[in-house]
Symmetry: C2
Subunit: 193 residues, 2 copies
């Protein structure tokens, strides 16, 4: 990640990565198919975690709450394992490279597919399952962007819950007053006005 940040993704070679990490190229390739996959490491483990979280959800949990709880779980994992500085550096590298942006879109689309499948496994029907999964991933993306982007030290799982709250406000009879602060949940807004 240091090398990608310093000289750009395209300009970095696997030989340089291996040298910086004190490994042989051969060892590198035992772990990663190519230098792109370094940025998507752990993705399979996260996908498995999404599936097991949905499978373990209470029967009374709504499809959307189930999906968002699963995404909160992996949000906590991401935050604890590599942390926000890594995520921020990674974001800059991905943002500078259209190929990586595509790969990122594909990753999120595959999460949505996985989540929809896991919901169907527990008995949710389509289009509900797909809609809950796609919407949950949208909730995650917005929260993740804030987590990576904000100057202050916010908690990713809390941001995901907050993002779900914002969505729930949006689908209610939310009306936009002239001087709204969009982040404020509708209930608070009503109390203040």
């Amino acid at each position: 990640m240091e090398l990608y940040s310093e000289r750009g993704f395209d300009q970095t070679t696997v030989a340089e990565i291996a040298a910086r990490a004190g490994l042989t190229e051969r060892t590198f390739f035992r772990h990663y198919a190519d230098k792109r996959e370094v940025l998507f490491a752990g993705s399979e483990m996260l996908t498995e975690r999404l599936v097991s979280s949905v499978a373990g959800a209470a029967d009374s949990s709504t499809p959307l709450d189930t999906v968002v709880a699963a995404l909160e779980e992996i949000g906590a994992l991401i935050q604890e394992s590599r942390g926000r500085d890594f995520a921020r550096a990674r974001r800059s590298v991905v943002a500078a490279n259209p190929g990586l942006q595509e790969r990122e879109l594909i990753k999120l689309a595959s999460w949505a597919n996985t989540l929809a499948g896991a919901l169907r496994e527990r008995g949710d029907k389509d289009p509900t399952a797909t809609l809950a999964a796609e919407t949950g991933v949208a909730v995650f993306r917005v929260a993740f962007d804030r987590w990576v982007g904000d100057g202050n030290d916010l908690d990713l799982p809390a941001l995901i819950r907050e993002s779900l709250g914002t969505l729930k406000g949006l689908t209610g009879d939310y009306r936009r007053p002239a001087t709204e602060r969009a982040q404020t949940p509708p209930v608070e807004r009503t109390l203040r006005s």
Copy 2:
């Protein structure tokens, strides 16, 4: 589209497309950068339409309703211009080719970005704007999949509205009864049970 369906996207050459359409290759390239762009023709026009629809929405329209109304508008355009048989053939071609699937994801991501920008233009703040845009596109995708996939002759804009209704049900205090029909909005379900 005939050629893509008959022999696959990769196996079709621009020369063959031009011959089938009774054009020279030169004329083809005046309209499309490459053979991939044939499948994404009209995308710019649709994007412009999304922006103008959001810009023209009533001030009282919620961000999510505004986005979904814009997507309904282009849903109607897609249905009227090329129709469902075209969409169905196109879907098969795209599904068979990972590169085209990626391009499709990018198209939808760019719609979401465009819609979020248009919402911000009318005064909606982030994360509300981004969340409404991303969620709206999820609503559209689910509706579009049903439109293309279903055997019967459904109306795309109506499916988009229905998909929004499903989402609104999902974010309420939706609980999944043992024998639910997921498509049924919660209000009806309550009345029946």
